[in-house]
């Protein structure tokens, strides 16, 4: 049995079949719209989340390095300084670098971050009136490899402590 629907605007009776066509078209158009919106929206969201990850990851790595550097600087400020000049002895330098990298004066198996080496840990001993007065530890030449970009750290993070250990110049 054929169903009739009256168009209330014009008063002309319309077959239900005639109404189904524009609805299908409408649905198809909406499907297309949703696809485009999804593509655009997900692109924006993906970019936002990728950027968020990138920044968050870099900040996290920086914070870990800052903690390690602070630990190394504090350690360097306490142990005997066995060099007559502001060039530290190999033993002193290695011990401080190990504290930064491994959290202990002796070399460990896993460094605080991947790919970081002793050459990335810079130790500066400042002399005042001929005696050690402060120690500065920093990270230099290390690249944080995030998702889409690399961030080169030059003398950052950097921590300085007053030297309060025993000077052994001989």
């Amino acid at each position: 049995m054929r169903r009739w629907i009256i168009n209330l605007c014009t008063g002309i009776p319309l077959s239900a079949d005639r109404l189904r066509v524009p609805r299908r078209r409408l649905r198809a158009q909406r499907k297309g719209n949703a696809l485009v919106e999804f593509a655009v929206g997900s692109g924006v969201l993906l970019a936002a989340f990728a950027g968020t990850f990138e920044l968050g990851y870099t900040l996290n790595q920086y914070n870990r390095l800052l903690t390690a550097v602070a630990q190394g600087a504090r350690y360097a400020s306490l142990i005997p300084y066995d060099s007559p000049t502001n060039t530290p002895s190999a033993g002193f330098q290695t011990a401080v670098q190990n504290v930064v990298l491994y959290g202990a004066p002796a070399a460990g198996a896993t460094a605080v971050l991947s790919d970081i080496t002793a050459s990335n840990v810079r130790l500066t001993v400042t002399f005042s009136n001929g005696v050690p007065s402060s120690v500065t530890v920093s990270i230099t030449g290390y690249t944080v490899n995030a998702l889409f970009g690399n961030h080169l750290l030059t003398d950052k993070p950097q921590v300085t402590y007053p030297y309060q250990g025993v000077w052994a110049p001989v």
């Binding site: 936002a48 968050g56 800052l66 903690t67 001929g130 993070p157 402590y161 110049p169």
Partner: protein, 382 residues
């Protein structure tokens, strides 16, 4: 007509829904990004300011000496702290600096008189700019605060850091053990001669070929005469020239030493000529070799502390027991650069004298504020 109205209303409702959804989604996205970026930056700012406070508190505590000038020196040292924040780009200024006699407080700023003030508290607040969270929290900055407490903690034992000499006192009350700042005390005693006229425990000054240093009280002289006699001179290092060099120049001890230890097994006659050379060499490393009183030396901006010699303070109670009762810091005498004061005045019969400066605080360019042991080291306690 009704159908059109209904469809139009439905479209309007959908537009509102999209608006609400977009708003909620945007807020959510900003929230997530804000958590990662803004909160991440706040964590770094917290870490950076904490490092600043730690280092500043340590430098401040190192300058405390129980006087108002020590408080001023501590405030200056804190103001000179160089650690920065905001990824190491911005200096910190105007930290809140207070002092206390105990790690729990009460905290006061600029105490005067300053006796007993051995702890310093440094607090700083920085405004971290927010980039994403303002949409949610309605503020463009968030204050991040950090604080640290450092203090001079009493030390009762040393495995390294003491010179191989000893000052004598029979007063066991720290932190000064009856020693008077500015007085000259014997750290290596003159040659004992029990055959000299009038020598006895009651007249100990007559028992030495040369008079001991001017600040030694009679009680100390009597204890030395009665218990050390000709055997010991207050030196407790090796007699080897190389060991003396390391002991005087690098303060490498023959053995660990603690409060209450009997120093007697470590006492040896010493090697005065060798010692004199290294004492003069150490004194010559100081950039101030002209001031021979604690007040003038400590006021000198050119000093570097090499003439300050930390030694144990001992009480010879019987011929077999010389007890360590505490520690102190002494100023080596000098007569210009290079100094040859001990070589000139340190012949076999003479004493080696040094001027008492006060309690020993490891790593400081002056005396510490003092504790029961007469020795301390700066530590972070918070």
């Amino acid at each position: 007509m009704a159908w059109k109205t209904w469809a139009s209303r439905r479209a309007v409702r959908r537009r509102g829904f999209v608006l609400v959804t977009m708003a909620l989604t945007t807020a959510g996205v900003f929230g997530v990004v804000g958590l990662a970026v803004d909160i991440g930056r706040m964590f770094i700012a917290k870490n950076e300011t904490q490092v600043y406070c730690d280092a500043a508190a340590v430098s401040g505590a190192m300058a405390l000496d129980g006087t108002a000038s020590g408080i001023n020196a501590a405030e200056s040292a804190i103001a000179a702290s160089t650690n920065k924040w905001d990824f190491g780009t911005r200096s910190l200024s105007d930290p809140l600096v207070t002092f206390a006699t105990a790690p729990s407080g009460p905290w006061v700023s600029g105490p005067n008189p300053a006796a007993g003030y051995t702890y310093v508290h440094v607090a700083v607040t920085v405004p971290v700019t927010l980039f994403f969270l303002p949409l949610l929290v309605g503020q463009w900055t968030s204050n991040v605060m950090a604080e640290a407490v450092a203090g001079q903690i009493s030390i009762a034992s040393f495995s390294r850091g003491l010179a191989p000499y000893a000052a004598v006192s029979t007063d066991t009350a720290g932190p000064t053990f009856g020693l008077i700042v500015g007085n000259s005390y014997t750290i290596h005693w003159p040659t004992y001669n029990g055959n000299r006229h009038g020598c006895g425990v009651d007249n100990p000054e007559n028992c030495f070929n040369s008079p001991p240093c001017s600040g030694d009280p009679n009680n100390s002289l009597s204890a030395v005469v009665a218990n050390w006699g000709p055997q010991y001179h207050g030196y407790w290092g090796s007699n080897s020239n190389k060991d003396i060099e390391e002991a005087v120049m690098n303060v490498i001890q023959l053995a660990p030493l603690s409060m209450g230890n009997n120093l007697n097994p470590l006492l040896t006659p010493g090697n005065k000529q060798s010692e004199a050379g290294y004492l003069d060499r150490r004194a010559s490393q100081d950039t101030d070799t002209s001031h021979n009183t604690p007040s003038t030396y400590l006021a000198s901006s050119t000093r570097n502390g090499r003439r300050l010699l930390p030694v144990p303070i001992v009480n010879p109670v019987d011929p077999d027991h010389t007890n360590v009762i505490g520690f102190g810091q002494f100023l080596l005498l000098a007569n210009g650069k290079p100094s040859d004061y001990y070589n000139k005045s340190g012949n076999g019969n003479s004493p080696y004298c040094a001027v008492y400066v006060g309690p020993y605080n490891v790593g400081s360019l002056g005396p510490g504020a003092g504790g029961s042991t007469g020795a301390s080291s700066v530590r972070l306690v918070k």
